[in-house]
Amino acid sequence: MTLLKTLAPYDFPSSDAVENYAGRQLLYINWERHRMFSRPFVLALAPETLFGEIIDTHMTDCFSYHPDWAQIDWRAVRWLNGSRPVVLDRNKSLADNGIGHKDLIRLITPGLDGIAGSGY
């Protein structure tokens, strides 16, 4: 239950409701144990976007600066949506992969722990 106390009615819309994104949705991407990128990055994409396109363009553009990117064994990778393990198909869309507005997709690459195993 909210603890908010006010002197007058208080009802304001969320700044980032999905309606504000003109048919797109927000998606956050993080590569676990590669903290060189400091924080996840955010995209606004149509729900029909193929997940493979996100890997091949957005993730590759950003993460290929890291020497581990070229070492990834894509058959071994695992994914989380927030803290929940999920199976993602690169040939399916965001919607068909069950990825909704403001979901955080985390890539786990077993055996790759960043520069000198530092997590960075």
Partner: protein, 514 residues
């Protein structure tokens, strides 16, 4: 005939006449209609006269003291500027501290001035009203003197001219803006706990170490004098914040859980705000004073423990976040610098990799963490720079819904893992940097769903020229953020090779050689 000389008033009597005797209870309108804000937060006050005025400063004396401080300050600023004092700083990298300071601090002093002026109107008792009014004027003075001391640098260096425009728009200034927006939209008592107590009393020393001592250590007499000129005001502010806490707790036992929740919330929010301040101490001051970790131990752990031991008699407990901040003191400055270094196009100040002796200093100051987690990535980046591949992350950040920091902190207990927290409110997902921020959200979700996150606003097309189609195939988010931020490109990028670096070297050579 003897002259009848009336007895001079003692300080206490004079104070009473100049403050409390000037106040009155309204009769045309009931008091609770004139002062509605003091009731709605749930704080119960039975006797406003029980408020102790620790300083007993009257307005006329206040103006006299402040005017004297101003005279001294501006004499020094003039001398410093006329003497090309900017060339006496240790190294041109130091000027980037001023750039970050200018964007992040004076605008918040202005917010504090607004906040205390509101609280001065909202409070019932004459004692707190006068004290808040004085603090409001102080904060306004700090806002002005900070800008005046730095304005001389604006004649010579890039990136100082649009701080007022940038304050409410730039990603890395959103944490401070959000901190004050949150405080000023709370009621008067929560504002006093947020700013008067958590920030001024518990955390302000950490802010003063890099700026005032940092200025002194690095040859910036202008900024140093501004700091000293503010220090006696700060002593008064700290006392006001503490007095307000004690007053609330003494008035009614029901106030304790409310006050405790505010202490927990605002100590955490202040701690998050200080991550970038700590980064200045560890990375940006060419001549360092002490590490952030050492400062945290002295000013937060030791002083904070003493303070909360004293407050224990009122039933107040140490803020919930205390243990987490102790763990994080080993990490947050490095995590912040990594976040800034990787975005060279997105700040109106320069970043750089530490020099070899600076890496060694960090190893020495952070023996538990630096060599394991941070040195390897820095050495990698230094090698990349030499190969002409300086890191430049072009992506847009994910931010915490409450503190608006980029989500860059580690999972407690595991420095290799990121800390993520989320919750769902009215069908929408919200993300946080920590348990503490999630709890703040869950207590008052109606408030924090409105948070301004610049990367989100950009993706909504709000940071684009009128008529931009964010669904167009060739639309590139963030591509025009420079224009939106009014960023001078000369002010961004790596320090090495910057115009500031070259000019400083040239002008200093002119001052010291034929």
């Amino acid at each position: 005939m003897d002259m009848k000389v009336s007895k001079k008033l003692g300080l206490k009597e004079r104070y009473t006449m100049m403050t409390r005797d000037l106040a009155w209870d309204t009769t045309f309108q009931p008091m609770d209609k004139v002062f509605p804000q003091v009731g709605y937060e749930g704080i119960k006050i039975h006797d406003w006269n029980a408020w102790e005025d620790p300083f007993r400063l009257t307005m006329d004396a206040y103006w006299k003291y402040q005017a004297e401080k101003e005279r001294k300050l501006y004499a020094i600023l003039d001398a410093f500027n006329q003497n090309n004092g900017h060339l006496s700083v240790t190294d041109a990298r130091y000027i980037n501290v001023l750039k970050l300071f200018l964007g992040s601090t004076p605008p918040l002093e202005l917010m504090a001035a607004r906040g205390f002026s509101m609280v001065a109107r909202q409070m019932v008792g004459a004692g707190p009203r006068v004290a808040c009014m004085m603090q409001s004027v102080d904060e306004y003075r700090h806002f002005q003197t900070q800008i005046h001391s730095i304005s001389n640098y604006n004649r010579f260096y890039n990136g100082l001219d649009e701080f007022a425009h940038q304050q409410s728009r730039m990603w890395y200034l959103s944490d401070g803006k959000s901190f004050f927006d949150d405080a000023i939209t709370a009621g008067p008592f929560e504002f006093m706990v947020a700013i008067g107590f958590a920030f001024e009393y518990v955390l302000t020393n950490i802010l003063f170490v890099p700026f005032i001592s940092g200025a002194a250590y690095n040859g910036d007499m202008a900024a140093m004098t501004v700091g000293f000129s503010a220090q006696s005001d700060e002593a008064r502010h700290m006392t006001l914040g503490l007095e307000c806490i004690k007053f609330m707790l003494e008035q009614d036992p029901d106030n304790l859980p409310i006050v405790q929740r505010w202490i927990d919330k605002w100590t955490w929010r202040g701690t998050r705000k200080l991550a970038s301040v700590g980064m200045m101490m560890d990375y940006m001051l060419p001549k360092r004073i002490m590490s952030f970790k050492e400062a945290w131990e002295i000013y937060f752990e030791q002083n904070g423990t003493a303070l909360f031991t004293d407050l224990a008699r009122y039933g107040v407990k140490v803020p919930k976040c205390f243990d987490q901040t102790i763990e994080e003191k080993e990490h947050i400055t490095h995590q912040s610098w990594i976040g800034f270094y990787m975005k060279p196009d997105a700040t109106p100040f320069h970043t750089w990799m530490p020099q070899p002796e600076e890496l060694d200093w960090l190893s020495e100051k952070y023996p538990n963490t630096f060599d394991t987690y941070y040195r390897p990535v820095y050495e990698h980046w230094i090698a990349q720079e030499k190969a002409g591949k300086r890191f430049n992350n072009k992506t847009q950040p994910m931010n915490c819904q409450v503190c608006v920091s980029t989500i860059k902190f580690n999972e407690p207990g595991d420095p290799m893992e990121m800390c993520f927290r989320e919750t769902v409110y009215k069908g929408e997902k919200f993300h946080f940097c920590s348990d503490h921020c999630r709890e703040i959200f869950e207590d008052e979700p109606e408030k924090y769903v409105q948070t301004f996150i610049s990367s989100h606003a950009a993706l909504q097309g709000k940071c684009e020229p009128e008529g931009t189609d964010v669904n167009a195939h060739d639309y590139r988010p963030g591509a025009r953020m420079h224009a939106y931020w009014r960023m001078d490109k000369r002010a961004s990028g790596d320090f090495n090779g910057s115009e500031d670096q070259k000019n400083f070297a040239k002008w200093r050579a002119q001052a010291t050689q034929n």
